[in-house]
Chain length 158, copies 2
DNA sequence: CAGAAAATGATATATTATAACATTTCATCA
DNA sequence: TGATGAAATGTTATAATATATCATTTTCTG
C-alpha cells in the first residue's frame, strides 16, 4: 500500500517549508506577488493536513493580532487557488494546500471523516477514466471535482 | 456518442411522471412517507434538468402561495437525499433529481457551465477507478463526489 | 379514542461569501 | 526622485446558504 496520508509524527515543518519554497517559485514564475497577507494565509492553511475554512483562517489571523475582515481572507484564497497553490474542497467549503503546485493536474481528494485529514492524489487512472467518460458523451471538461470521503488507513485500523 | 443529456424538446412531462412513479415506489419500499411537502419539493426539482438551490425552491413554493421557511425546505431535501431520490451537487450548493433511485450507485455528474443542465452518469469505469485508487492507498470509501464541469455536446457545438 | 412518533411551523441565528467604495502600497518611468 | 496608475488591502454592508430549538399539527399504532 502506497503512502498518501503523511505518517503521524512526521516532520511537518518540512512540509511547511517545502510548500513555502514551492509557492515562492510559482509566484515568481507567474510574476505574482506573494504578499505578507497571502503568505500568512498560505502558512495558516499549511498548519495541518486538514482543510481549513475561510472563517477559521479569519479567526486565526485575529488571534495573531491582525484584525482582518472576510474579504481580505477570501481575496487571499482566490489568489492562492487561482495559482493552484491551494485547492478548495467543495464538499467541505474549505481550503487545502497543494503539494505539487508546479504541475497541472486533475486532483482527487481523499478526506478522512475520522481524523479530518485530506490527501491529494494525482491518479492518472482516475483522471483518464473521467476524461474517457467525458469523451464518450461528447462533454468538454473545464474542471473536475473528485472528493472521496471515508476512513484513512490509520483511522480504519486503530 | 451515447446520449446523456436529454434532447432539447424531449417530452419532459414523461421525465417528471417517471420520476414521481419511481419516488413513490422507493418510499413505499422504505416505508417512508411521501408527504405533500416532499412531493412538492421533489416535483419542483424535476421542473428542469438543472440543479436547484434550496432558496430557489423556497421562492417557488412562495410563488405557489405556500409561505414556508427554510427549515421546511431543508427537511424535505434531507429526506429526499437520504432516500437517494435527489442528489446534492456540492460545487453548486444545489439539488438534482436522480433518475435511477432504485439502485445503489456512485454517481458522477456532468454539469454544463453554459446551459446549466446537469446529467448523472453511472459509469463503472469511473467508479472502479475510484474504488481501485482507494484500495491502493488503504482508504475505506464512505461516499464520493465526482462533479465534472464543462460544456455539454449541444453547447459545445451550437 | 389515547398516546407516541413523525412531520411541519415558527423564530432566531449560524455559517459562508460577495459587493462597493476608500485607502494604502508598490512598480514604473518621466 | 517623485508623480502616476495599478494592485492590494481596508472598511462597511449585505447576500446566500444552512441549522438549532421549541411549538404545533398530523399520522400511526394499539
Ligand atoms: Zn506535514
Ligand atoms: Zn483518518
Ligand atoms: Zn426531461
Ligand atoms: Zn449545455
Amino acid at each position: 500500500m502506497s503512502d498518501l496520508f503523511p505518517k503521524k509524527g512526521h516532520d511537518h515543518d518540512r512540509c511547511v517549508h517545502s510548500a513555502l519554497a514551492q509557492a515562492e517559485k510559482v509566484c515568481d514564475a507567474e510574476n505574482a506577488r506573494f504578499t505578507d497577507m497571502r503568505r500568512k494565509v498560505f502558512t495558516l492553511i499549511w498548519q495541518s493536513h486538514k482543510a481549513v475554512t475561510a472563517y477559521e483562517l479569519l479567526d486565526a489571523l485575529t488571534a495573531e493580532g491582525q484584525r482582518v475582515q472576510p474579504p481580505t481572507v477570501y481575496r487571499a484564497l482566490e489568489f492562492l487557488t487561482e495559482l493552484g497553490l491551494v485547492h478548495r474542497i467543495e464538499s467541505l467549503n474549505a481550503y487545502f494546500g497543494c503539494d505539487r503546485p508546479d504541475c497541472e493536474h486533475l486532483g482527487q481528494y481523499f478526506i478522512c471523516t475520522d481524523c479530518g485529514r485530506v490527501a491529494e492524489a494525482v491518479n492518472e487512472d482516475m483522471s483518464n477514466a473521467v476524461r474517457k467518460a467525458a469523451r464518450g458523451v461528447g462533454f468538454t471538461i473545464e474542471a473536475t471535482t473528485v472528493e472521496i470521503k471515508g476512513l484513512c488507513h490509520d483511522c480504519a485500523t486503530h
